[in-house]
C-alpha cells in the first residue's frame, strides 16, 4: 500500500507537484523511477549536512567531499532497494557513517599521516604545522579558530565507535533513536557511548569549556 502511494506520488512529482515540496520518501520513489530532478533535490537537501558530518569524522575536507559524493552515488544506485521503514536522513547518515568508518580503518591500516600534522608533541598528540600568517587577525577570530582546531583534534582522537555517536548527537543533532538506527545499535548502547565520549572530550577540552 505504501509502495503504491509512493509510486503515485512519484508520478505526480514529475508533473504538477514541485520537487521542493515532496518528502524524502517521495523523492526516493521518484529516483527509483529514474527521475533525475528528484535526485538533484535530494542532493540539494543533504549535501551540506553530509559533507559536514564526514568532515567532523575525518577532519579532511577534500576526502570528506569525495565521500559525501560517494554517499549520494550509493543512494542513487541502491534506490531500488530502499525501504521506507525509517526516515531517509537515518538511511543516508548510515551510508555516510559506514563510508567514514571504512575510511578511518583504511587510514589506520596504512598509518596515514596528514601533511598538516606531521609532528607530535610530548603527549603524542598531533601538532599542526602552522606557518606564520603575516595578516593581522582580530583576537576573537584567533580564539575561535584555535577552539575549532582543538575541537576537531579532540573529536578525531576519540575511538571511532565513540566518534560516530558523538558527532551524530552533538554536532548533527540527531535523536538517540535515529543514531541507534543509523549505527545499528540499541538505544542504550548509543547513550552509553555518547556518555563515554563526552567524558573523554571533557578532559581534552577542559580549557575551552
Amino acid at each position: 500500500m505504501a509502495a503504491v502511494t509512493h509510486q503515485a506520488q512519484a508520478i505526480e512529482l514529475s508533473g504538477s507537484r514541485s520537487a521542493d515540496a515532496a518528502s524524502d520518501h517521495d523523492l526516493l520513489a521518484a529516483i527509483r523511477d529514474g527521475d533525475e530532478v528528484a535526485f538533484q533535490e535530494i542532493v540539494r537537501r543533504y549535501r551540506n549536512p553530509i559533507t559536514n558530518f564526514v568532515y567532523r569524522m575525518l577532519d579532511d575536507y577534500d576526502r570528506s567531499v569525495e565521500l559525501a559524493q560517494e554517499t549520494f552515488i550509493r543512494v542513487y544506485t541502491s534506490a531500488s532497494r530502499y525501504q521506507a521503514n525509517y526516515s531517509f536522513s537515518t538511511y543516508i547518515y548510515r551510508i555516510a557513517t559506514n563510508l567514514a568508518i571504512s575510511e578511518l580503518r583504511k587510514r589506520k591500516r596504512r598509518k596515514v599521516v596528514s601533511l598538516f600534522s606531521p609532528f607530535t608533541n610530548d603527549d603524542g598528540d598531533p601538532v599542526e604545522l602552522d606557518p606564520p600568517d603575516l595578516n593581522m587577525l582580530q583576537d576573537e577570530t584567533l580564539i575561535a579558530n584555535e577552539r575549532r582546531k582543538a575541537v576537531a583534534r579532540a573529536i578525531t582522537s576519540l575511538p571511532q565507535k565513540y566518534r560516530a555517536a558523538i558527532v551524530l548527537r552533538d554536532v548533527e543533532g540527531l535523536s538517540y533513536d535515529q543514531i541507534a538506527h543509523t549505527l545499528s545499535l540499541s538505544e542504550g548502547t548509543v547513550k552509553s557511548r555518547i556518555n563515554r565520549a563526552r567524558n573523554l572530550l571533557k578532559e581534552k577540552l577542559s580549557a575551552y569549556i
Binding site: 542532493v43 559533507t51 559536514n52 559524493q69 552515488i73 572530550l201 571533557k202
Partner: protein, 223 residues
C-alpha cells in the same frame, strides 16, 4: 527523590537539555556537584556544536554528476571492467556452452550415411560382419532369424545395422509403442515390465535375451 547519579544520567541522556523535568532542575539547584556537571555538559554541547559548519564546494553537483555518469557507464559495461577471474570464468562458460551445443547438434559424431546408400544396404547383398562384432553381439540378425519378414523395411534396416555393430541415430519422434521393457531377474525367473520410453538411466537395446522378442514392436530396456 532522585540520587545524584540518576540526575546526571537524566541530564546526559536528555534529548532536550533545556527542558529537564521539574524534580531534576530542583535537584540541580540544591546540589552543587550536579550543577557543575550540568554546566559542564551544556558547555561541551555548545562547544561541539559551535564550530563553523563546513559546506559542500560550489562544484559539488557537477563533480557528483560526472562521477555518476562514470558509474552508469561502468554498470552498462561491467563485464569489460570486471576482474580477470570473472572474465576468465565468463569465457570458460562460453566455451563450455559452445561445446555442448556442438555435441548436441552432432558435430563430433560420425557423418550419417546418405539415404541412397542405406537403401542399397536394405536391398543389396549384405557385407560380411566383423568377427569380433559377431561374437560380441548375441543378437541374431533379422535375416538369420527369418521370423520378421513382415516387418517394415525401415525396421529391417535398423536391425541389420545393429547386427553389424553400426551406430544408429535415434528416431526424431518416438512412437507410443517404443516403450522399454525392464527385465527383473528374481527367484521366480524373468518378469517383463512395460515402461515408458523416458526413464532415467535406461539404454534402449533391441532384441536382448535368448533370441525371442517379448513385445512385437517395442524395444527392450535393460539395466
Amino acid at each position: 527523590m532522585n540520587s545524584c547519579r540518576e540526575v546526571r544520567k537524566l541530564i546526559d541522556q536528555s534529548e532536550k537539555p533545556d527542558l529537564l523535568a521539574f524534580d531534576v532542575t530542583e535537584h540541580i539547584e540544591r546540589c552543587s556537584d550536579c550543577e557543575r556537571f550540568s554546566s559542564e555538559r551544556a558547555g561541551l554541547r555548545k562547544l561541539l556544536a559551535s564550530p563553523v559548519r563546513v559546506s559542500a564546494p560550489v562544484n559539488f553537483d557537477a563533480a557528483l554528476n560526472a562521477r555518476l555518469a562514470e558509474v552508469k557507464a561502468r554498470r552498462s559495461l561491467w563485464w569489460l571492467s570486471a576482474p580477470g577471474y570473472l572474465r576468465l570464468g565468463a569465457a570458460t562458460a562460453g566455451v563450455v556452452v559452445m561445446l555442448f551445443a556442438a555435441h548436441y547438434i552432432g558435430l563430433f559424431s560420425k557423418p550419417s550415411e546418405p539415404a541412397s546408400q542405406t537403401g542399397a544396404i536394405a536391398t543389396g547383398p549384405q557385407p560380411p560382419a566383423p568377427k569380433a562384432a559377431q561374437k560380441r553381439d548375441m543378437v541374431p540378425s533379422t535375416n538369420e532369424r527369418g521370423d520378421n519378414s513382415s516387418a517394415p523395411p525401415e525396421k529391417r534396416i535398423r536391425r541389420r545395422e545393429v547386427a553389424l555393430g553400426k551406430r544408429i541415430a535415434p528416431p526424431a519422434v518416438l512412437a507410443t509403442d517404443d516403450g522399454g521393457v525392464v527385465i527383473v531377474r528374481g527367484q521366480n525367473g524373468e518378469m517383463d515390465i512395460q515402461m515408458p520410453t523416458v526413464s532415467v538411466g535406461a539404454q534402449p537395446l533391441l532384441l536382448v535375451g535368448a533370441g525371442r522378442r517379448v513385445t512385437p514392436s517395442g524395444g527392450r530396456t535393460s539395466f
